[in-house]
Symmetry: C2
Amino acid sequence: MEEKRKQLRIGLAGLGNVGTGVYKNLLKNQDLLSERTGTTLVVTKIAVRDINRKRDIEVPKELITSNWNELIEDPDIDVIVELIGGVDEAFKLISGALNANKAVVTGNKAVLAERGKELIELSEKQNAPLYCEAAVAGGIPIIKAVKEALIGNRIGSIYGIINGTSNYILTRMNSGGIEFSEALAEATEKGYAEADPSLDINGWDAGHKAIILGWLSYGQWLRTEEVSVIGIEDISLDDVAFADDLGYEIKLLGVIRQAKNDERIEVRVSPNLIPKDHILSSVDGVFNAVAVHGDVVGETLFYGSGAGQDATSSAVISDLADAAENINNRVGCTGFVPKGEFGTVLPLSETISQYYLRLSVADRPGVLAKIATITANHDVGILSVIQPEPESSTEHIPLVLLLHDASYGTVQAALKSILELDTVEPKHTLLRVETLEQ
Amino acid sequence: MEEKRKQLRIGLAGLGNVGTGVYKNLLKNQDLLSERTGTTLVVTKIAVRDINRKRDIEVPKELITSNWNELIEDPDIDVIVELIGGVDEAFKLISGALNANKAVVTGNKAVLAERGKELIELSEKQNAPLYCEAAVAGGIPIIKAVKEALIGNRIGSIYGIINGTSNYILTRMNSGGIEFSEALAEATEKGYAEADPSLDINGWDAGHKAIILGWLSYGQWLRTEEVSVIGIEDISLDDVAFADDLGYEIKLLGVIRQAKNDERIEVRVSPNLIPKDHILSSVDGVFNAVAVHGDVVGETLFYGSGAGQDATSSAVISDLADAAENINNRVGCTGFVPKGEFGTVLPLSETISQYYLRLSVADRPGVLAKIATITANHDVGILSVIQPEPESSTEHIPLVLLLHDASYGTVQAALKSILELDTVEPKHTLLRVETLEQ
């Protein structure tokens, strides 16, 4: 009698952009996956919000349900793929599945950032694995890389370009010389930005991913209020050009790292000046990249499509293959759940970096001297100064300073004093400069 | 009674550069690894060639033996790490360990390239896993990425900068304007090149790695005689400069891909012109990078240190963690051993790319017309031509052609006719141009 071929029966919750990609690509490469894993990966039920919605792909009607509870209650389903998005309902779905001892694959960064701690604890308690490769940086296997490939390393730092929309906009501002609003319109037109791009532009899409990377690296789930998140909406073409003059490019970075000379950790997102000769600055358009520094491996970088139907489904499918292997081997949670090493979070005011400060100052002698006196009094060194020739006679001209390593609190205090000078306008831009050296 | 802490007992064969790194870093991060894997990773025996050799690290004398058979015969050893190098003895050691049902971790690309087929078959037969992350691209987890993270993908192509010494030399020629011999001397002085750098310079170090990547991608072990390998020794500073003028940079690439419009595969190593705006051209110095194109994920790239004691030991340690997990779960071979998809290898003469051809021609009218007639007769289009003004009156001047996509055989035939012209000198340089589009 022929041995019955092993099957992994998948319940798919959500048939939006990524869900459609998962269904389509599982079918497309089913033979390949079956050959490689020894298991046939089959979607046996799909929960959708609106049964009657017209879709890009044909799905057998008998697979479809409008109630995701049916996926949880179906004893024949081995693993549930959560792609419904949002926080509250997704939390119910994932925790329900784990409580039913089913493995879960999710691509939902928001629910992990908000409630990852509870979900991972539940996963361990139930010995039902929770996979989330698709939640960070789409097709880039950064979760597997940090959890498994770099397991022998203490993570010194992670610098990630982890929002494709922002990176597209900044790339176009830099290479095309167009303003933020024009670049955003272009991104929307090309389908790179959502109809409502606010989570991309305000930095929180990257913020959620940074929280997950913080957990992977240091075993702690930071609360959203512990994470400083600044988006790219205030970056001007002038800043892009001044950065270029100074040898830098502006990128929205997720920064996850152990503070220098300190065991405390910092997790934050903001636009940063990075050196043009660093490979991260070559990451253009909608691509993502994550640079990871480990104490044993040194510098590494992982690059690819951070979003999109196909790239993200590649990540979901690799999680499904891992789930198939664990289920076949009758093993529950495997992989290496990170353990907390560092107990405390560095307050934002104590985080250290270099800074780019653009001021608008009166065009008269002595202004720079006054500003330099203030920074010196705060013990902040000046690395370089750009004071462009005014193009026409204007009352105020730009003054750009590159400031030496200092705590954010110190720089804020110095800035406050500078802005009190009657020769300095209130409008200014303060950006971090990351040398990416560790 | 307290539960006995799980242990993974490691027999280490070879205490050279990488072996020393493995021993040192396992000790350095032992607590971290124990916390993450639930297992204490302990080296319980070390086989070395010369017991009395002075070493950089202190190793308890009782661990050391000069006979690696003791590692195989020790029933308490779970896994053997093979870092002795070479082919014949390493083959005996690895096959002996697998026959004794021990897991094996190796960083030895030569033994895999020469005898990987037998070793993998033995591993499967014995259900004793064979791990080889450290054999390709040092600290970059490219084996895990292709085998596990990209499991849902058909691999369209892999383009790898997988020899750090060659990349250092080409980087210095490009950015420093120094000749090959001077750059090689610099690499040797800095410890980036071996005392005998021939395997780096003639391309075969990369060739071995390309064979392993070919197996990972297409399930086939190509024989060394099926792989075309060309090193960088004939690259001149003029070629580097002409490539730059044309918008390219010269890199030694391992190319593993499915031929265009064809299911046949090609595996080869040669210096290639690649576009300066592709991220691979930003990979400088001793760093390695591997660009993988999958049909689902699209373009990805993995970057890091391709060699060195610490980076390579990071890869060995991740294999040991995987071995620990499998042994704890009483599971033998896991992961996804690739299966053959494509039965045949594309002969070198049928491989297709664009080409860079530098000729030395007589400085008189009509020469280009004759050459263009020959290429047209072979149906090879010319994309661009550089004919620099001669600096002084010389009899022969360089002529650089960029040729359209054509098979290697066709270009060789056209070149043969061109070199028969009495206005063309025999000395020439023919390099491939990779657009890296797929």
